[in-house]
Amino acid sequence: MGVDQALLIGQSSHILGTRDARVVVVEFGDFQCPACAYANPIFMQLIESYKDNPNVSFVSRHFPLPQHANAMIAAEAAEAAGAQGKFWEMSNMLYERQNEWSGNPKPLDIFVGYAQQLGLNTKAFSESVNGKKFEDVINKDRSDARSLGINSTPTFFVGGEKIQGVPSLEEFKKKIESRL
């Protein structure tokens, strides 16, 4: 048993794999959360481990917390990059270089730099972020998270089961394997 899959996976979430994979791993994250930045390499290694396994999918969803002033704009940046096919690359960059932008009052300048490095159309990227084009999407993710009883980040679900804390790579794999 697990939670409502439609609520968990969402309609327009970024997914690596298919929605109806046997095991779907979902992360609700906040780009400005240090714990999420810590968990990101583990999540990326997990994705790498199962990239050729059609039975396992990975979903990333937003849960920007109100105490993180730049969390929302970072989520917008990730979505804007996603519109140009580079959501996961931008997400990775945001987590890896969190210290660069986290406390900056003007993070968009930094994000445009990241977009440039990813080879994105920076004009379209900036317009998207400035126009808060994906605000509804991000707010929907946050609303779904609250409906699922989530109150912290990162929060992971494996096969519909909520996981406590940040598991190690081995713990993650055990959870996945037990459901395959």
């Binding site: 906040d30 714990a35 999420c36 810590y38 917390l65 993180h68």
Partner: protein
């Protein structure tokens, strides 16, 4: 000076608790700095101390330490933990970010490093120390 402090240990403890309570309410209600979860737990143990110590002084109750000290020690423990997070001794990356106010948000800084969590810790230490010293002194005098 030492005698002055010794004779007024309980008042020092009470005033410290009172100032802590008023200060936290000022930060929260007047300055609008919302307390995080750890701050709430510290408030839960600190606010009753104002009454317990105050009544203990008035009634000259020799046993009020039994009620006050556990609270001040618990409060000190929570404050100590928060300071470990605040000053990055415990890496925040290991602590999930919780919905609501962050317990490491930096609001006010005196002399460049004395922030609210450190003030709270000082308060707990002062209250605990003064109560313990007075208790020891009282038991020594009365042979209890």
């Amino acid at each position: 000076m030492t005698k002055l402090i010794k004779d007024n240990l309980l008042y020092i403890a009470w005033v410290t608790a009172l100032v802590s309570m008023i200060g936290s309410l000022y930060f929260g209600e007047i300055l609008g700095l919302a307390p995080c979860s750890l701050c709430w737990y510290q408030r839960i143990v600190m606010y009753p101390l104002v009454l317990i110590i105050g009544i203990g002084i008035i009634k000259k109750d020799k046993h009020f330490y039994d009620y006050a000290l556990p609270l001040s020690v618990i409060g000190g423990g929570i404050a100590f933990y928060q300071n470990l997070l605040y000053y990055n001794v415990i890496s925040e990356k290991l602590t999930p970010c919780t919905f609501g106010v962050s317990c490491v948000s930096k609001y006010i800084s005196l002399l460049g490093f004395i922030d609210i969590p450190l003030l709270a810790l000082f308060a707990s230490i002062i209250i605990t120390a003064t109560l313990l010293i007075h208790k020891k002194h009282t038991h020594h005098v009365h042979g209890n």
